[in-house]
Symmetry: D2
Subunit: 151 residues, 4 copies
């Protein structure tokens, strides 16, 4: 196995190891479905613990998973010893979030030594129909010499 | 009991009735601690289901409760038949969120027939120390003729 | 000339007619370089009146042209009698904005009867090099029965 | 004159010296009307170069002055050798901006070694009536060892 592949596996392991330590993500039932350099996808199945009062996914659940997807997208580009912190994000809700699961995608638009900027979207999957239900723009900060996400 | 007081109790009941139907808020352990016209406060005790991997409150939990606090602050000013929808919000994380509970406060800055704008903040309570850990700015939309929050 | 083409020319005329009435855009030296349904591009040549103290384009100029580009992207999809109002926008500055001109692009991501959501970016053109210097996410409101942009 | 007062005058001079080098602010006709530690106020008189097509202040002018007010609010707390950069900001337009002048106020909510968070508002002054027409939330970055604003 070459060094590049080793590094690749390494950051994927790091992302998942960190993710599964997040009590909130685990209790929500969220999972990391894809990690690539500068990209992370999180899925969230339907469940009472992530709904609002009309049986739609809760806006807070949508915000939580797309914030996390953006955070790990940034984290995937960092050195092993660095942590990541969400500085701020903004989310627009653009369609009702109904269906059997959500898919949140975060992507790095501008990596940086101190700050990284990502964009994200959340897709609601209902039967075979996919609807973009939220758009996100986010600023993250690299924490030198800490080995995990902080946000 | 005069009409004004009746209306006051009424909107407080409406907010709480709506809140307790939100599976996500209930599972997180959040509660509405105060509702006044144009203001809502939500509290969230510490618990594994709202933490990230370092024992701090999860950024997603912070975003969720301050979005909800802002939403009900707007909803408290609406007619009985109107619902409220979060159009968008932005949150800045300004301090680590540690302690025994969070207090999220949402306040209407600009009420409107169609759109309402709020600001919010989240306070981390640790022993006797209170620290503002997040700032929020939010846009909400009134949904005529529906009787509940939608976001 | 068929009806579709007539409508196309019509909205392009409407955008330009509105744009040139904006004292600020004219004084800045900005111009509309492209309008398509759901898309608008605004260009801004370098000039003292749009710079900050280091000879870079001013953040305020960047914000102004990308707000306008997003606004007209939405407006291009509206009926002739409707106006558009910026509800809110957020901009991330991701690189120094130097060069001979800026190109701001706004694109509708979610059109709507009441609210429209766009994303935008600003590109700094320096010799032959193009650098994305800002990212924008924006909410707009349709104003029924008014025939112009309001923001 | 004691050291504190000297430092105060010093940062006020630094803010004004930097401000007047901004071609955009000067051409718009904006001026710094107040600087205190963690606070800056910018005023903008009515003029064709800051209007949109209906004789209201342009949203871009509003965004520009409140971004600058927030930036100098942060800058006022920095060491003499530090510069400031706008990372991002978000603005909500909450009322039509008409009148003889605008007053933009920026205030530091959370100072920091690397990042500073501010909030701002813009007030439209029409005869004797003052109306808040915009709300802002902003993230700024300290640039060590540079002596001016960068944004």
């Amino acid at each position: 196995m070459n060094d590049f592949k080793a590094a690749m596996l390494n950051y994927q392991d790091r992302v998942r190891e960190s993710f599964y330590k997040q009590g909130m993500m685990v209790h929500m039932g969220a999972d990391v479905s894809e990690v690539r350099p500068g990209f992370c996808e999180v899925q969230l199945p339907n469940g009472l613990q992530v709904l609002q009062q009309h049986g739609l996914f809760h806006g807070g659940a949508i915000a939580a998973i797309v914030d996390v997807a953006g955070g790990y997208a940034a984290y995937s580009l960092f050195d092993e010893d660095d942590g990541v912190l969400t500085v701020e994000f903004k989310v627009n809700y653009i369609a009702p979030a109904r269906g059997r699961k959500l898919i949140a995608r975060g992507e790095v638009v501008k990596p940086g030594r101190t700050l990284t900027v990502t964009r994200g979207e959340v897709i609601a999957v209902e039967d075979d129909k996919e609807t973009v239900c939220a758009l996100m723009q986010q600023t993250l900060m690299r924490i030198n010499g800490r080995d995990d996400i902080k946000g």
